[in-house]
Structures are given as structure tokens and as C-alpha cells.
Subunit: 121 residues, 2 copies
DNA sequence: ATGGAAATGAAAATCATTTTCATTTGTGAT
DNA sequence: ATCACAAATGAAAATGATTTTCATTTCCAT
């Protein structure tokens, strides 16, 4: 088994929020780091095993990773111009927790996004 | 644009619960139906557009489809066994509305899902 | 019957992810 | 320093779901 390459973790941190393996890889390339895509995948997997990062799925099926326990935020996206606002999701956190408990679920996470037309569009 | 092949919907119904495109296809084959994989994908997509079926992602990233209940609801999904509970999202609706207003967004919609380990897993 | 639009499906293309495998690197013993 | 061996690395091939292409077939309205 392989252990995580520390540069992968540090890049994921720097990405803030979510990032896919491909994105982490591209980011490292752009920053001149020499690393193979395979190693990025392996490192992320290992971080997931160690419960250092969470993994989710985007709507398109791509896996996205995020530091565990990271205070996370949600997005308000304009469906016309793509403009995005980071918003706070305290209400969601509470809702997710309550719903999960109500149904006996553990180790819960969630995704939530709002989309609409921004004031300019 | 293409419309859904009715046999796809009927097969998905018969499958009860969730089924992936590949599973619907295999099921139809086993039952002697003559249909192409492409048509299965197209039909499922079209059913999703028409909000007749829901689509989720398995842990491995494969898309799974299921007949929609009626009202707008959210999902509590077990990331191990895929078991799913439909939950009510009143809190989310309110949150989305408030956040959108706060930032001057109109015509808002949202997505939200909770995932974790169910009591059996 | 006739023409055009929609539906179909086989095969190729795409794309994320995993596997293979040969090479490199790190480490501990001598 | 040298040898030996395990772990890490990454390029390239394999995998598998999904999408696209495109030629053909089916449907309908005239």
C-alpha cells in the first residue's frame, strides 16, 4: 500500500473547498510541481482511507475531495452568467444533522447548492 | 431531441427501487426486449429532464435512476448500501429563499442531499 | 405513395479512474 | 560506502460508464 504524498494534501488545502483529482493534478502542474496523475489518485485515496479527507460526487459523476472538518460553505450560482457567491449554510448543517439522526444515519455529510438569476441578469 | 422509449420506463418501474442504465439495459435483454444501450441512456435522460425519474450517484460514480415520488423532496442516501430515504426539506426551501433574496437572486432552485451510513451498515 | 422529421442502435470517441509494470528512491544492515 | 530490499513513482495501457456520430429505419402528415 502507498502513503499519501504530502504535496497533494497541501495542494488540496490550498484549493480551499472541493477539488477533484484532476483539478489537484492540474493545479500542481501549473505551480511547477513534478508529480504524476497516478500518484495524485493514490494519495487522495489514501487520505480518504485515513479519514483525513471526505469524498463526494459531483453531478457529472466526478469525485471531489475536501479536507474533513473543514468549515465548508455553499454556493449561490447564477444560471445565466455563472457568477458565484459563497454563502453560509448553518441552517443546512442543522437540517442535515436532524434528518440523519431521525433516520439513524451516522457519519453524515451533505451537498447543497442554490441557483437562480443574479441581479445583473 | 428524443422522447423516452416507454419500454424503458416500464422496465425501470418493474425494477422497483434504483437501477443504473446498464442494469435496465441488461434487464431488458434478459427479458428478450430488443433495444440498444444508447436508447436506454437517451430515454433515462429524457425522463430525468421531464422530472419523471430521479437520478443519483452510487459510490462508484455510476448513475442510478428511480421513479420520482411526487412532491419536491430530498434524499438521505447510505453511502455503503445505497439505501435511500426521501425526506422533507422545508428548512432548505426557506434557507434557499432567504439566501437568494439577500443576494438579489431571482427564480431560484436548489439541490441538496444528505449522505451517511444507515443504521444497518 | 412521398418527403421530412424523429427515433434507433452500432460503433467510435470521451473521460475519469484503475491497473500494470518497469524504474527510481529511501532505508537499514553489513 | 555498498548491497539488498521494500516502498513510491509515473508512463502507458486497460477499464467501464457515458456520450457522440452517423447511417438507417420508423412514423406521420400530406
Amino acid at each position: 500500500m502507498s502513503r499519501s504524498n504530502p504535496r497533494v494534501l497541501s495542494t488540496l488545502e490550498r484549493a480551499g473547498g472541493f477539488a477533484s483529482a484532476q483539478e489537484v493534478y492540474r493545479l500542481m502542474q501549473r505551480e511547477g510541481e513534478s508529480i504524476g496523475l497516478t500518484t495524485v489518485y493514490r494519495s487522495l485515496q489514501s487520505l480518504v482511507n485515513d479519514k483525513i479527507v471526505d469524498v463526494l460526487r459531483r453531478d457529472d459523476g466526478e469525485a471531489i475531495y475536501r479536507l474533513c472538518g473543514d468549515a465548508h460553505h455553499h454556493h449561490l450560482v447564477c444560471k445565466n452568467c455563472g457568477d458565484t457567491v459563497e454563502i453560509e449554510g448553518g441552517a443546512i448543517e442543522k437540517w442535515a444533522k436532524v434528518m440523519a439522526e431521525e433516520h439513524g444515519f451516522r457519519e453524515v455529510g451533505h451537498t447543497a447548492e442554490i441557483f437562480g438569476l443574479c441581479s445583473k441578469c
